[in-house]
Structure formats: structure tokens, C-alpha cells
């Protein structure tokens, strides 16, 4: 006989149910159906849209392909070899690391500062909280246009400002170094809404008596920030760092719309190179190999983050 299923049995009840349930084949088979019914839909969706493409990418990375992406000649690891030997690819790799590192560090730093500012009890602070989190609601294309206005040569906001202050005018998006700065700034700006919101939430969770105790014990505001605030929000910081890192590796929209990988490939990040090889030159085999390398790099760095940074995280 089957027990009636309650949606949330208490732990003790669950135990007694497990005891009373017939141990025979029927009971187990029933469990399996229930499990399949719950897991099935997401397994199907993940299978079609994640696992299959992943395996297909791995497969394609071992072939040369024709211009519609059908594999033609099996070449083994040759696609990978070509990439690793290519100085252009190594440059793209390097640019990606610079970009990702800067984006993560700046996003977290500015995010923490904004959140710290927003928890202060000041008049009108609610407006600032809304403004700080506003970029969460901005689409990439809108952001790109916004930043293009700011960075565009001579008529852009920044250059007009520079001109009025008699500072040298910079061709932001057409000078290799500055183009990188421009997309880093834009990406950080895009990230800030989410990062701010999460960190703001974390800061609000820190009990105020901890600051009271620290103040009475003689800790300056700076000391309190470093020795109370940061450790208390370290789990959230770690989460944000991981999410931002992975997100930065996958940045595409802003780059495509603002620099298209230029000038002179200075902002040609790994993802963008994948896009170019696959959809502009039709070199699907090579693009697949690049995708695999990117996936491995992201997984590796995330692992490193967990391995070394998580030790400094203190969960309560």
C-alpha cells in the first residue's frame, strides 16, 4: 500500500514514513517515477540546449567544416594546435585576461563603495539606491549607445568636456589602449546595478550591534570597514566575484556594438573571436576549438577562485 504523500513532511514524520513503506520493488519503482517526473522537464531542456551543444562543440572542434558548419575532414587536435601557435590568438587571450581582471576588481570595488554609501542614513538616500541599481534595467544595446555618445570622438561628452577644460582630446574607441579602457568602464557600469543590489542586501544583513561593539572597543570607521564589514559580507563578495568573473569572460554585446573587436584587434576578446570565426568567416571547427578553450579557462579560473579565495570567506 502506498502512503499518502504530504508535500512537506516533518523530519520525524519522514523517518517513520520511510520505515513503514514496503521495502519491495513497488515502492522503489514509484520513487523512480516521481523522481523522473520532477527531473524530466529540466533534464530535457538542459539536454537540448546545454549538453547536446556542448558535446557537439567538442565534436566539431576535432573537424574541419564546410561553410554551413557540417564536419568534413577529421583533423584531431590540429585546430587546437593552430590556435595555440597563433600570436593573434595569444594576444586575444591576453586582452581577455586584462579585461576580465579589471572588470572583476573594479566592479567589486565600486560596488562595495556604492553599497556602503547607500546604507548610510542620509536624506534622500532612497533615490540613490534606486539610481545605483538602475543599470539592472538597462539593455546592452541601450547602454552601448549611451556609452558611444560619451566616448565618441570630438562630439562625445568626454571629449567635449576635455576640450572645454583644455585637456588633450582622446579618440577613445579608435586608440587601442583607450578602447580597452572604454569597454572596461562600460562593462563595469553595466555590472554595477546587480552587484550593488546584492552587496547592499548583504550590508543590510550585518547586525548594527557589531558596529556598536566595535565602536565602543575603539575601532575607527576604517578599521570597522576592514575588520567587520568585509568579513561579514565575504560570502556575498565571493559569490559576486565568481559571477562577475564568469560574466566578464562571456561579454559580447557591448564589444560588438562599441568596438567590434577593434581597433586593430585590441578589444578582440576570446568570445568575440569565437563569434567572428564561426559566424563571419564560417570556420566552425576552429570556433568550436576556441569555445572549448574558453570553457576550460573559465572552469579553471573558477576552480582557482574556490580553492584559494574561499578560504578567506567566513560563512556564519
Amino acid at each position: 500500500m502506498e502512503m499518502t504523500h504530504k508535500p512537506f513532511p516533518s523530519p520525524t514524520k519522514a523517518k517513520s514514513v520511510a520505515k513503514e513503506r514496503p521495502r519491495g520493488f513497488n515502492g522503489h519503482r514509484h520513487d523512480k517515477y516521481v523522481a523522473a517526473a520532477f527531473l524530466g522537464p529540466s533534464l530535457v531542456v538542459l539536454g537540448i540546449f546545454v549538453f547536446y551543444p556542448m558535446l557537439k562543440t567538442l565534436y566539431l572542434s576535432l573537424f574541419l567544416t564546410n561553410n554551413v558548419g557540417r564536419p568534413t575532414v577529421f583533423v584531431g587536435l590540429k585546430n587546437y594546435g593552430t590556435l595555440l601557435a597563433s600570436s593573434a590568438y595569444r594576444a586575444s587571450f591576453q586582452a581577455t585576461l586584462i579585461y576580465v581582471f579589471s572588470v572583476v576588481v573594479l566592479t567589486l570595488t565600486v560596488g562595495v563603495l556604492l553599497a556602503q554609501a547607500a546604507v548610510q542614513k542620509l536624506a534622500g538616500i532612497r533615490w540613490f539606491r534606486t539610481i545605483f541599481s538602475a543599470t539592472m534595467g538597462v539593455s546592452v544595446s541601450v547602454a552601448a549607445i549611451f556609452w558611444l555618445f560619451i566616448f565618441s570622438p570630438s562630439v562625445g561628452l568626454l571629449d567635449q568636456l576635455a576640450a572645454s577644460l583644455h585637456l588633450p582630446v582622446i579618440n577613445w574607441l579608435t586608440t587601442p589602449g583607450w578602447a580597452m579602457v572604454a569597454i572596461i568602464v562600460s562593462t563595469v557600469w553595466m555590472n554595477l546595478g546587480f552587484t550593488f543590489l546584492i552587496l547592499f542586501g548583504a550590508l543590510q544583513m550585518v547586525p548594527t550591534t557589531l558596529y556598536d561593539a566595535a565602536a565602543v572597543e575603539g575601532a575607527s570607521p576604517r578599521y570597522q570597514f576592514l575588520h567587520v564589514t568585509l568579513p561579514m559580507i565575504s560570502p556575498t563578495l565571493f559569490f559576486t566575484a565568481t559571477v562577475t568573473l564568469i560574466g566578464a569572460f562571456k561579454s559580447f554585446g557591448l564589444i560588438d556594438l562599441m568596438t567590434a573587436g577593434g581597433p586593430n584587434n585590441a578589444t578582440n576578446l576570446m568570445v568575440y573571436q569565437v563569434y567572428r570565426d564561426a559566424f563571419l568567416t564560417g570556420n566552425y571547427g576552429q570556433a568550436s576549438a576556441e569555445s572549448m578553450i574558453l570553457a576550460v579557462v573559465i572552469a579553471g579560473l573558477t576552480w582557482v577562485q574556490f580553492k584559494f579565495l574561499e578560504k578567506r570567506v567566513t560563512y556564519e
Binding site: A213, V216, E217
Partner: protein, 372 residues
């Protein structure tokens, strides 16, 4: 470490006093309790002394130095919080060392002070544990150790025992008192628990309605309450407050039933009379004394509390005579044998009638203290 509060006041909105005109002198080495019901402003007062809440009016002196506008860290005090305020990410010893590190003491001294403080609260075996791995009582002791390690001579405590279970709370009362005397600390202790205040404090400040009601020793407050609030706040079972009226100069009638002769005339008016249950003797009905009807019976073991009603409907709490078996509906006779406190219509003490007051018209009083 003497502390002087003169006319301290706090408002958040103009003219809405959360605390008004609080004055007190606390001598060095004293255990000073601030008691009152929740919302009376006692924690606010403590935070004002600590420097965590700005003082709106008045002056605060610690050891003769005006500290009214100084930040907490320059007031040379330490504080134990109700929630303990331990840093969850630090071990016991790091928690205790927190303030010393923030103040940049040399490592050797930090180590020595921390070790001693942890020893004093008997937590040496737990020094490397995180707060989450400690029981409530142990966490409380970590908070104490942190206060001890700072070696500040003034320690503020904000309901430090209220998160502990009843048994541990009783044990910690003695423990705290012992530590305070051993270390020669001046302690300002906030609590809503009158028993805690009575058992631990040298002096007690009673706060109610944003104002100081009375300051005195525990016995003072118990025996000479300045008003009805203090009278009913201290002592368990609580003081009965009966409506009373002086109809002729020396005749006081309680609850329209019990008549008491006053040794000295009081103006004809309505009064409130406070009588503690232990000041009333319960006799079997039919002895000629006025009767009350038992409503509920509470057995406490050593005592039996009777909730009774006088003929005019006034509630009166009594202590039953030990072996008797009372039931709701029983009638008992009452005789006033202990101290009576006469308060005026505003609740201020006017007169104390001490010792065996005989009810009825031929009432006599043994001694009289005039407080008007």
C-alpha cells in the same frame, strides 16, 4: 570611575522627549541598575552614556571629565550587549582581542590580557572555537571576557542575561556580581527584570514614561516607593493598588470596604493605597473581618496565591495560609497587618502606615512616616 548624569535628555523629533531630565551620580565601584518596562528609554540612556546615541540635552561626566560629545572610543568604557555582539567570523580569543588590536596594543600585551580574561570567565578550553560552536551561556561569557580584556573600569551592560535560560540566569547573576567586585568595575546595568536589579545592584534607577521615577537602594525602593509605579514594579507578588477615599480628615476607606484610621489628617480626596500581599493576613470567613471572594488559586509550592475580589469588585491578591485548600468561590476574611502606602491621585507617595493596622473604626497605627 564615577559617573555623573545631569539633566540628560533625548529627542528624535523636536519636543518629543524619549528621555527627559535624567540625573544621577554613580560612585566608583558601584553596581548601578537601570530598570523599567520595555520602551521606557533605558537602553537609549545606556547608549547615550556609551556614546552610541547622541545626547540632546544635559551633560555627562565620567571621572569628572565632560564626555557629552566625545565618541565612544574616547570614553574609556566597555559594553556588553544583549545579543552579545560577537564577531561570528572570529574565534573566541580573536573576539576578546578585537578591541586591543583595534587600539594597536603590542602583541605580547594583547596575548597576556586575552589569556587572563578568558581564564577569568573560564573559557580557556574554548579559546579557538567560533561563536557558533558555543552555547548561549558561553557566548555571554565571551562578551564578558571582551569587556574584561579592555580593562576599562566602566562597564555598561544592556540586558546581558535576558537571552539565557532561567537557571543559568540565576547563576550568572552571582557570577557577574563576583567578577564586578573582584575587578573593581563600575557597572551600569540595564534590565527590565526587577529581581535582577534587586539582587545585583547597589543602587537602582527606575525609569518609566521617559523619566526617572526614583533612585535608591533596592531596600529603599521596596520599602519607600516614591509612587505607585515603583511600588507595583518591585516585589513579587505585586503590590495591590486599591482605590481609596478620605471622607473625613482621618478616615480612609479602601475599596469602599476596609476602613483605616489615619494618624494624621489628609485632605478629603481620592487616593490610591498600595498593600503588598504579604501585608495582608488571610483569616477564615466569619471572624468579623471584611470578606473577599476567591477567583483563582495559584499554587507556587511554598506559597499559594489567591486572586480575590472585594465586595465592590476591586481585585485583591493575597497569600493563602499554607495547608488550606482554597477553591474559587470561597470567601476569606482579610486583615491588614503590614505596611500601607498611601498615594495621592497622581500616584505620588503621601504617607506610609507601618505595621499592624487594625481594620475597622477602631484602627490604630504603630508608626507613621510622612512623605509629603
Amino acid at each position: 570611575m564615577s559617573i555623573e548624569l545631569s539633566g540628560l535628555g533625548k529627542t528624535y523629533q523636536p519636543d518629543e522627549w524619549v528621555l527627559h531630565d535624567v540625573s544621577a551620580r554613580i560612585a566608583s565601584g558601584e553596581f548601578f541598575a537601570i530598570v523599567g518596562p520595555s520602551g521606557c528609554g533605558k537602553s537609549t540612556l545606556l547608549r547615550m552614556i556609551a556614546g552610541l546615541t547622541p545626547i540632546t540635552a544635559g551633560n555627562l561626566k565620567i571621572n569628572g571629565r565632560v564626555v557629552t560629545d566625545l565618541p565612544p572610543k574616547e570614553r574609556q568604557l566597555t559594553m556588553v550587549f544583549q545579543s552579545y555582539a560577537l564577531f561570528p567570523f572570529l574565534s573566541v580569543q580573536a573576539n576578546v582581542a578585537f578591541g586591543l588590536k583595534a587600539r594597536k596594543f603590542p602583541p605580547a600585551e594583547i596575548d597576556q590580557r586575552v589569556t587572563r580574561a578568558i581564564q577569568l570567565v573560564d573559557l580557556t578550553a574554548f579559546r579557538d572555537r567560533k561563536p557558533r560552536d558555543l552555547s548561549g551561556g558561553q557566548r555571554q561569557r565571551v562578551a564578558l571576557a571582551r569587556a574584561i580584556a579592555s580593562e576599562a573600569k566602566l562597564c555598561l551592560m544592556d540586558e546581558p542575561l535576558s537571552n539565557l535560560d532561567a537557571q543559568l540566569r540565576v547563576k550568572m547573576r552571582t557570577e557577574l556580581r563576583r567578577l564586578q567586585q573582584q575587578l573593581g568595575l563600575t557597572v551600569i546595568y540595564v534590565t527590565h527584570d526587577q529581581v535582577e536589579a534587586m539582587t545585583m545592584a547597589d543602587h537602582i534607577m527606575v525609569l518609566h514614561d521617559h523619566q526617572v521615577q526614583q533612585i535608591g537602594t533596592p531596600l529603599d525602593l521596596y520599602h519607600h516607593p516614591a509612587n505607585t509605579f515603583v511600588g507595583s514594579f518591585f516585589g513579587a507578588p505585586r503590590m495591590n493598588l486599591l482605590p481609596a477615599r478620605v471622607s473625613e480628615a482621618t478616615e480612609l476607606t479602601l475599596a469602599q470596604t476596609l476602613k483605616v484610621a489615619l494618624p494624621r489628617p489628609l485632605p478629603v480626596a481620592d487616593y490610591t493605597v498600595g498593600i503588598r500581599p504579604n501585608a495582608i493576613t488571610v483569616l477564615p470567613a466569619g471572624t468579623g473581618a471584611p470578606c473577599a471572594t476567591v477567583q483563582t488559586v495559584e499554587y507556587l509550592g511554598a506559597q499559594t496565591l489567591l486572586e480575590t475580589q472585594l465586595p465592590d469588585g476591586t481585585a485583591l491578591e493575597l497569600i493563602g495560609v499554607a495547608p488550606a485548600d482554597y477553591r474559587p468561590g470561597d470567601r476569606v476574611a482579610v486583615q491588614l497587618t503590614g505596611t500601607l502606602y498611601v498615594f495621592d491621585a497622581q500616584g505620588r507617595a503621601r504617607m506610609t502606615l507601618e505595621g499592624g493596622v487594625v481594620h475597622g473604626n477602631d484602627a490604630q497605627t504603630v508608626s507613621v512616616a510622612d512623605q509629603s
